[in-house]
Subunit: 156 residues, 2 copies
DNA sequence: CATAATTATATTGTGCACAATATATATAAC
DNA sequence: GTTATATATATTGTGCACAATATAATTATG
């Protein structure tokens, strides 16, 4: 028998499914990333830096922010921790002193080879097919795009 | 031209799509929840408590942990903040003194009526249909279930 | 019933997220 | 060129997440 408050039932909500699935995936990453000494957000930053290194592009803090949807309050301390471990360099631009350019070091690039094993190992043994993974990823990307382009939630 | 490191391309990864979509959804919740003075994790806790209240069930800290996949390190301070604001009560069980039972107060229940408006407002204006929302939710629930039942990531 | 093992919650410490604000530099308007 | 505005990063403070450990109470074992 449906009650008036079914709209508030936890299991009916997209948001909780998303929240729980996201944490389950990052929890699954955690032991794999620990092998190369990275947290999950640090791993995402290194993915961007590795790709930029490959493409011969430079990456500013604001580029990381746009790509990962993170602000300086998150990135600045995270990047300092990576710099403390010599995985990245932080260099203030001489032409425009507001800008800080981030690069992966040799040591940071050395992790890339090990990291390549990780995506394949992640869903291994879960019975989630590549087709299903790609379909879910694309649907999430599409939803993200709609959420980001369609302005504020209405109702006011 | 595909490179060797496409497996590490940010946009190819399910995990990043999940991470970004989750944060976009909670960001969309934020202003709505602010109207009733809750953070997103606090809202999830209240959803569980409201549902239990309706069903005449009692909720222990460990029940919240199982349902929301959160541990006491997250829940204890969160529940204290809710208790400080008289939205919940924390009562140590007299029969088994290890147990703490959490209940929504009158004041906490009063928020439920306002909260019922929120799910409907959330995706409003995004062009995401109810059918699509339900399909994505169910796929995420299915993936979560597989991640939680299929043991550790292999590769060792 | 004494002791070991288990269970339930709490505490501490680290690392995100994000709002709000600060600081410094650069560009635009006059 | 001086002032106003915008841009880029940093800082501070709050609230999760989660690992590791602690504490206390319960149950199981001998």
């Amino acid at each position: 028998m449906a009650t008036e408050d079914d709209v508030l039932a936890l299991d009916n909500q997209l948001c909780f499914a998303l929240y729980a699935a996201n944490r389950a995936v990052t929890a699954r990453y955690r032991p794999l990333l620990k092998e190369i000494g990275l947290t999950y957000p640090q791993y995402l930053v290194m993915l961007v830096l590795w790709q930029a290194d490959q493409d011969g592009k430079t990456v500013r803090v604001s580029d990381l922010g746009k790509r990962l949807r993170l602000d300086s309050g998150t990135l600045t301390p995270l990047l300092k921790r990576l710099a403390d471990r010599d995985l990245v360099t932080r260099q203030r631009d001489t032409a425009d002193e507001r800008v800080v350019t981030i690069s992966s070091t040799e040591k940071g690039n050395a992790l890339r080879r090990q990291a390549r094993e990780i995506p394949g190992r992640l869903l291994c043994g879960t019975g989630i097919s590549e087709q299903r993974r790609v379909a879910l990823r694309d649907e999430l990307r599409s939803v993200l795009s709609l959420l980001e382009t369609r302005g504020e939630p209405s109702g006011r």
